[in-house]
Amino acid sequence: MKITCDREKLLAAFQTVNAVVPARSPKPILECVKLDVADDRATLMATDLEVGIRLDLGDLEVEQPGQVLLPAARLGAVLRELSDETVQIAASESSTELRGERSRFEFPSADPHEYPEVAPFAEEAYHEVPARLLRELIRRTVFATDPESTRYALGGVLLEMDESTIVAVATDGRRLAKMEGPAQSVGGHATGDQATIVPAKAMQLIERSISDSDAEIRLSVGPNHLHVANPRLTIYSRLVEGRFPKWRDVFPVREDAVRIAVPVGPLLSCVRQAAIVTTNDSRGVDFNFTNGKLILRSQSSERGSSEIELPIAYEDRDISVMLDPRYVIDFLRALDPEQTFTLEVENSEAAAVFSTDDGYAYVIMPLAREAASAR
């Protein structure tokens, strides 16, 4: 195998697939990436057996097709350090050579046929989702996952796809993020009753690997895997096995809650301020809604107290609810600061629901301060 290619392009491609490569693996072969060169195209592949990625390299000069395994960590370092415009990679039986203009590297290489196969996307039933929406779907939910949970499989994002919509849900049992949007089913593809839970790591990889300018992304769910593809990229991920809570049952639907329009940026700033004096074991911030304003109060014995006011359009009964500011910040950071969202509160014991008009909803369970006097 012998090719010549643009160094920066190769580096960019390399960094994308590198996210999958384990730094240290019981199977050393997984610390490599595989480069598969055909006559007219070249594909870079990496997998840790949980998640796999195939990335098309685009234009390059192929002198001789073939396959080669490249040591991910070293190759990355070389590509970053070189300043040449192009590099040449040539593989022989036992080693791989990389040449720059004034430099030459030789790496021992393993048998590329021993590398686990990363399946190409060949499914005929799939969903088509706009790249931008898919990224948003992931960005707005993945932070709410909980890799520690053992009772439920909360370490991933639940995907539900029917004829025309896709829903992503993640929760850690204390808050829940849900985002939905339009998606086109092709070939009768649907998730049905199967719990499709995609590991957070795979979701982040998908989010990072595609860009808003990409075309429609295809998603196809198998019995225990998810396949995601666009013309230049394929990502394969095993699904998380386990049960996901019945989120529709816990999502609050209520009549007499109060809905308030709140701007994202100003609230984020206020919550951050209020969070300054909270500590790990005294983390609650009181959200007091009163005529015309929202007052945030927090205090802890060792860091002092804070009180922050935010004028809002609110004319109703006084409501107070204590929330964990980190959960609120997670939500606000997933939004554009210029945006406005709807905050739904009922009383100090009921969940607070944050929602936007583009299909995003977020539930936070309140904190309660148990009476210390009852000792």
Partner: protein, 691 residues
């Protein structure tokens, strides 16, 4: 003067009942054991109000002939043994001939029975010891014993009954123990109208364990088996990722009888040593089958304790079997399973995910190493298995030190150095090493100001560190291993520290212990225990005065417990709510957790709940908010504290040792181990024969 008289039989029976019948659960145990001894294949236990109101045990066993009914409720009447020799080969669960008589003496008992071959059955009522008439009646083959108004004539004992929930917990526990020992028997347990357990006959043992304790646990169990000439050990143990804060999940079945045996429990803990955190106990279901003559069960009326003829051999067999099994299983299977459940961490490049992975690797490696090491040792049994601490070990250390000394330098250690150098014609290098070693010795082992000059000398600071080869004992303890003091640290730093004894100085040995000096001697501190204590004090100060924040759960967490634990938790719901833990009954032995203290976010809810439940079950009196809060704080502190095996920077060591007064004063480690050992200067002087 009081006259001596023979007690009337009612009184004798009441006394006997006092030994055997402690609470409704004891009645259930005795009756179900009778049913099992009668060869029943279906046993139904129905209980009202936790057994205080009524207990009914129905079986399909061999039954009792009508004319024998009065004999059945007479004291010391039994069909199970005939003569005293039988006592030493008991194959039945009961044999004392006391249970029915004892129960009948303190309750309203109704015994109905029909042998399979008889045409009709008969029934006999006994009201608080007064035996009625045998009346013929229609009944299916088998025996039904109904006990109402337990402790009707012993009001004191009746007063001691706890709440319905607690008593029912004990009843369920009794049934669970028996059902576990007899998977071939169909068991049903009803409380009021509620069916607590329905266990079909003929399941595998594993299936029954799963039915009683949850599939999650059963699926992960590791089977163990071994046979020597007479003793067969068979059963399941849980991988280290499942453990409990007490020993109640250790089921030892000896010839089908549930027993508690300290020595075997110790063998279990020993087998898991290094695999479980301090204060955690393994889960095990073990059957021991051996000829009845090898064990004496006639030790205690409730037969919970037995005496083995050769306890040491059985101890070794349990320990050896488990170790061999652990060595041959790489515990990767359960570990991987655990990892598969917890899907990959967010972001592969995130250090946390690497750590999690390496932690698993480390544990695996540690396990293999540990097993190898332990296998190499002989297996001591009983109390000798625990490490000797204090002066004994210290003596061992000093012996080895002295041997070395005698070997290398026969003249008195007080002789001037120069003389020896000339007289013995040592090479300069050797002498330098020698001097350096002496300097080290003094820096470590004596604390008089005159020593301050020795380690500060350039010679000592530059000399290559040549610690003496530590003997095994010394190595274990860390005292003899002087090469731990690195030159950079041991030289000028030490000298500087010397100038003010007030500032504590310490070194870390084996990434586990801190060795520090105090006015009276050398302090060896368990680093984990010290840090735990420090954190605990900090947390307590912050939390005790204030309210605890509770995070409501969007998805309530069901937690499977033992019947006793569930009952104990539900009984203390209000108290738990004050701590931010809201629990609700969720059917069976499962409770639903709907809110959790926000400060415990890093702990696993089910672990926390189980530990608290253990505390509640164990505690005799009504727990206080403070006690439970203390327990929570201990758990937090324990989780957050540095572990044995963490390497600390010198700054960290110094910071930690600054707070050592906390361990020195009143520390008791929550798990009952010592946390700091003191070797007084006098003691050391004596050991080195300096006095």
């Amino acid at each position: 003067m009081a006259t001596i008289q023979k007690l009337p039989p009612e009184v004798v029976n009441k006394i006997a009942a006092g030994e055997v019948i402690e609470r409704p659960a004891s009645v259930v145990k005795e009756l179900v054991e009778n049913a099992l001894d009668a060869g029943a294949t279906r046993i139904e236990v129905s209980v009202e109000k936790g057994g205080a109101e009524s207990i009914r045990v129905t079986d399909n066993g061999c039954g009792i002939a009508a004319e024998q009914l009065p004999l059945a409720v007479a004291p010391h009447a039994t069909s199970k043994i005939c003569n005293a020799d039988d006592l030493f080969r008991i194959a039945t669960l009961g044999f004392r001939g006391e249970a029915l008589a004892s129960i009948a003496a303190v309750s309203h008992l109704c015994l109905t029975s029909r042998p399979a071959e008889a045409d009709e059955g008969a029934t006999l009522r006994v009201e608080a010891g007064r035996i009625g008439e045998v009346v013929p009646c229609g009944t299916p083959p088998g025996t039904t014993v109904e006990v109402r108004n337990l402790f009707v004539n012993t009001p004191v004992r009746r007063k001691f009954l706890r709440t319905t929930q607690t008593e029912m917990g004990h009843v369920a526990e009794a049934v669970v123990r028996l059902a576990l020992a007899h998977p071939d028997v169909h068991f049903t347990l009803n409380h009021g109208r509620r069916r607590v357990h329905e266990l079909p006959a003929g399941e595998t043992w594993l299936a029954r364990i799963g039915r009683l304790f949850g599939r999650e646990l059963a699926d992960g169990l590791i089977s163990v088996e071994s046979c020597d000439e007479q003793v067969r050990l068979f059963g399941y143990v849980a991988p280290p990722n499942h453990s409990r804060g007490n020993q109640r999940m250790q089921f030892l079945l000896l010839n089908g009888r549930f027993i508690r045996d300290r020595s075997l429990q110790h063998a279990l803990s020993e087998a898991y040593r290094g695999l479980l955190m301090h204060g955690r106990y393994p889960i095990a279901f073990l059957r021991l089958d051996m000829p009845p003559e090898l064990v004496d069960v006639n030790v205690h009326p409730t037969k919970l304790e037995v005496r083995f003829q050769d306890g040491g051999r059985i101890y070794s067999q349990v320990l050896g079997t488990l170790r061999t099994r652990f060595l041959s299983t790489d515990l990767t299977v359960p570990l991987d399973a655990a990892r598969a459940q917890t899907p990959p961490h967010v972001g592969s490049s995130h250090p946390a995910s690497r750590e999690a992975g390496s932690e698993v690797d480390d544990r695996r490696r540690e396990l293999a190493e540990w097993a190898q090491r332990e296998m190499g040792r002989s297996h001591p049994h009983g109390a000798t298995g625990s490490e000797p601490v204090g002066p004994i070990r210290a003596a061992a250390v000093s012996d080895s030190v002295e041997e070395q000394r005698d070997h290398r330098e026969s003249p008195s250690a007080d002789e001037p150095l120069a003389l020896r150098r000339l007289g013995r014609n040592w090479s300069a290098e050797e002498a330098r090493a020698q001097e350096e070693r002496r300097a080290r010795d003094e820096a470590l082992f004596s604390f008089t100001p005159r020593d301050a000059t020795a380690p500060g000398s350039p010679l000592a600071a530059n000399a290559p560190a040549e610690g003496m080869p530590p003997t095994n004992d010394a190595h274990l303890f860390g005292l003899g291993n002087r090469s731990t003091v690195e030159p950079s640290q041991g030289g000028p730093d030490m000298a500087a520290a010397d100038s003010s004894l007030a500032r504590p100085r310490a070194i870390q040995v084996h990434n586990r212990y801190l060795v520090a000096e105090s006015e009276e001697g050398v302090l060896v501190i368990d680093q984990h225990a010290l840090h735990e204590r420090v954190l605990y004090e900090q947390l307590r100060e912050k939390v005790l005065a204030r309210a605890v924040e509770a995070q409501a759960l969007l998805v309530p967490e069901p937690v499977d417990l033992t019947p006793l634990e569930a009952a104990a938790l539900l009984e203390q719901r209000e108290l738990l709510a004050q701590l931010g833990l809201r629990v609700e009954p969720f059917g069976g032995d499962t409770v639903l957790l709907t809110s959790f203290p926000a400060m415990l976010a890093n702990l696993k809810a089910d672990d926390v709940l189980r530990s608290l439940a253990g505390q509640l079950v164990e505690g005799q009196r009504k727990p206080e908010r403070r006690d439970l809060l203390d327990e929570l704080l201990h758990m937090m502190a324990c989780k957050a504290a540095i572990k044995a095996g963490d390497r600390l920077t010198p700054e960290e060591v110094a910071a930690l040792v600054e707070q050592r007064h906390l361990v020195r004063d009143s520390h008791h480690c929550p798990h009952g181990r010592p946390t700091a050992l003191v070797f007084t200067r006098d003691e050391l002087d004596r050991q080195f024969k300096r006095t």
